[in-house]
């Protein structure tokens, strides 16, 4: 017995290191395997409750459509870990930290610039790639971040494209406003858009001047004062950067205060959302949105549109679905090329993205050194009978613009 024990001790002394190494390897193996293979765990952060709940829920439709399409085009499916930012910057930050702690290997989100900025800080600190679906404030990709990528135009890009498309619309209709009142939400997105406008307007040779700028709280419960003030300027048209709930409130006040501007020119969300069309019915017709959109002629656009129509009949495909879907497309494509879920390798793969078969207009998805896709192009869309039609640029248009819009009191 003692011989055996001694022999065993002798053997174990030698074997101990080998054994320990084997055990360590065995224990570490799942982590290495997890880092190299298996499904990519993607933490999707969206404002699914609070003031932006409607838009956050809408974005999530893009998430629901992604995996079946990825499977059909030979991309790996993703394991989605969902988190609600509650339309709150601090909640967005803590939910991002929790998702990473729970094993998320890549983050996607968060519709809003303020929330996306907070998530970007967390992602950079933890070394986890973050693909922004929708957020336009320029500073997000000006910080020198290595793990943050944005497949959405910045505020100046949106404004620049919007002004060019507006000129095209005015030329097409033969009618243009001489003055506008500019109303914008006072959050990160609205403020960055408002800062971009004065720089770009003089260079764009627009037919109108801004009579007054009115900023307001996006969570405001009553916008009657704002519309009274706007109406008092006597401007021909309304230039807006808004969200969803306030777009509905603004329209209600326009009708109640009997002011029908010749056009509503939106450079943000709200006016094309399904909930806007559904809530306001015929009163939703007419506004023009100059926003990031999709190229209806692209193969993947048709596939995404078909999948949306099948799963959610009656819902118009919009920016929220498109750019959330594309953020996940970037993740799946990077995972396929990186052949690993290691965050550093994934970030490198995202940086090298070159997707030409995509949904948004322009040559495709690729990122510059700052992590920004600079190839994106916007479109002008108009609400028409509960549907959305593209009216500019001409190459991507499927209808002629109706401008000036029909006055509210002339609608049955």
């Amino acid at each position: 017995m003692s011989v055996t024990r001694n022999a065993s001790i002798t053997l174990n002394r030698r074997g101990l290191l080998a054994g320990a190494a084997a055990v360590t390897t065995a224990m570490a193996a799942p982590a290495i395997v997890r880092a190299q293979g298996g499904m990519l765990k993607v933490g999707v952060l969206l404002p699914r409750s609070g003031a932006q709940a409607g838009i956050g829920q809408d974005c999530y439709l893009g998430v629901e459509l992604a995996n079946p399409i990825f499977k059909s085009i030979g991309l790996p499916e993703l394991e989605i870990m969902s988190a609600d930012t509650e339309t709150n910057v601090e909640v967005a930050r803590s939910r991002a930290e929790k998702l990473i702690a729970d094993g998320a290997q890549l983050l996607v989100g968060a519709f809003d610039s303020g929330q996306s900025s907070a998530i970007a800080q967390v992602a950079e600190q933890k070394g986890i790639p973050f693909v922004i679906n929708i957020a336009a404030a320029p500073p997000i990709t000006e910080q020198g971040y290595k793990f943050v990528f944005r497949n959405f135009p910045t505020g100046p890009m949106i404004v620049g494209d919007a002004l060019a498309n507006q000129k095209e619309v005015f030329a097409e209709s033969g009618s243009a406003p001489k003055t506008v009142v500019f109303m914008h939400v006072n959050d990160t997105f609205g403020t960055s858009m408002a800062q971009s406008l004065p720089n770009l307007l003089p260079k764009s040779n627009m037919p109108y001047t801004i009579k007054e700028t009115i900023s307001y709280d996006p969570t405001a419960r009553d916008l009657s004062v704002e519309i009274s003030k706007a109406k008092a300027t006597g401007a021909d048209a309304l230039l807006v950067v808004s969200r969803l709930n306030d777009a509905i409130l603004l329209t209600r006040e326009l009708v109640k205060q009997r002011w029908s501007p010749m056009g509503i020119l939106s450079m943000g969300p709200g006016w094309y959302e399904g909930q806007y069309l559904k809530t306001l019915g015929k009163l939703s017709d007419g506004p023009l949105s100059f926003v990031p959109w999709y190229d209806p002629n692209k193969k993947l656009s048709k596939q995404l549109e078909g999948a949306l129509a099948k799963k959610y009949p009656g819902i118009n495909m919009n920016t929220n679905h498109i750019y959330t879907f594309e953020a996940l497309l970037i993740a799946a494509d990077a995972h396929k090329r990186a052949k690993t879920t290691d965050p550093k390798a994934l970030a490198e793969a995202v940086r090298m993205t070159n997707i030409t078969d995509n949904v948004s207009p322009g040559p495709g998805i690729s990122f510059d050194a700052k992590g920004q896709n600079v190839n994106l192009k916007n479109a002008a869309i108009q609400n028409r009978g509960g549907k959305l039609v593209a009216v500019a640029p001409k190459a991507a248009a499927n209808a002629k613009v109706e401008f000036p819009m029909r006055p509210y009191d002339k609608r049955s």
Binding site: N186, Y216, S224, V225, K229, A232, N245, R258, T279
Partner: protein, 290 residues
């Protein structure tokens, strides 16, 4: 800015302020008699708003017509809450009462989230987009009806406390608790009635305000805060003060939005509160504390 715009905005602020006042009246009644600060006040109003939304969506019933049934329902809820949950806390320290009411508020918000989800829900009546033009002045029809309804409910409440024997008993109870016990008033019952009346007020306000504002579960805390601003400005425990405070805050928000920037309109409401606390801590119509 044309002169009629000032008038339009002032009328709009006044009408909105009347509804705010009705909401704050409930808080004032409860605090004035029961001496419990209802931190679930705004949340109770969102419950009333959701009841109005459901009745409108399912049965097509106009919230203005449903104002009294909803107020009656909230009265029962308030009465039961006071009898079962709050009465045991009446003699406990204020922080216990505070925690109880905050807990009730959180339970209400989360229950509403589970039942109705986070999306905003609205009531769109046949007159939702109507307005009256009196020369150059345009008055929002919904706000006008809401303001008139708020005046009627407030007048009924004042009349109840002034002329009804039970109303007088409640006032006696609020003025002198020991005296009320000595003369044989059932104070526990009167407290429950008072809480019920406060809840009924907030029920009526909820049915009215749902015509003006889309309801979401997180709306409650914002209205609780607003109700506190109003009653502190008007005078804690003073019913006319609550109504005056509501009108003052409604008007201040509206005019500040017009004169300065709409982004800062809430700031001016809080500025009024700070001024009142500095120069008349008991509120505009409140009794000086001894």
């Amino acid at each position: 800015v044309p002169a009629e715009i000032y008038l339009n905005v002032a009328i709009s602020g006044l009408l909105t302020g009347l509804v705010y006042g009705l909401m704050a009246l409930g808080l004032s009644v409860i605090f004035g008699v029961v001496r419990v600060v209802n931190f679930a006040h705004g949340e109770m109003m969102t419950v009333a708003m959701y009841i109005a939304v459901v009745l409108f969506a399912r049965l097509g019933l106009d919230p203005l017509l449903m104002m009294l049934p909803i107020a009656a329902l909230l009265f029962v809820v308030g009465y039961a809450m006071q009898m079962v949950i709050i009465n045991p806390f009446i003699s406990r320290p204020e922080h216990s009462q505070f925690m109880l009411m905050v807990a009730i508020a959180i339970i209400i918000v989360n229950s509403l989230l589970m039942i109705f989800g986070p999306d905003a829900q609205a009531v769109q009546t046949s007159y939702s987009f109507d307005s009256y033009a009196l020369g150059p002045v345009i008055v929002d029809a919904t706000k006008l009806y809401a303001g008139v309804a708020a005046i009627l409910v407030a007048a009924a409440l004042f009349a109840f406390f002034q002329y009804a024997p039970v109303g007088k008993a409640i006032r006696a109870c609020a003025d002198n608790y020991t005296g009320a016990l000595v003369v044989g008033l059932d104070v526990k019952q009167l407290y429950a009635l008072s809480f019920g009346l406060g809840a009924a007020c907030v029920g009526a306000a909820g049915a009215i305000i749902v015509l003006l504002v889309d309801v979401t579960p997180p709306l409650g805390p914002a209205y609780t805060l607003l109700a506190f601003v109003i009653v502190i400005t008007g005078g804690m425990g003073s019913m006319p003060g609550a109504l005056l405070g509501g009108v003052l805050i409604g008007l201040t928000e509206a005019m500040a939005g017009l004169f300065f920037t709409p982004s800062a309109k809430s700031m001016f409401a809080f500025a009024i509160l700070v001024l009142v606390l500095l120069f008349r801590p008991q509120g505009i119509m409140g009794k000086r504390l001894t």
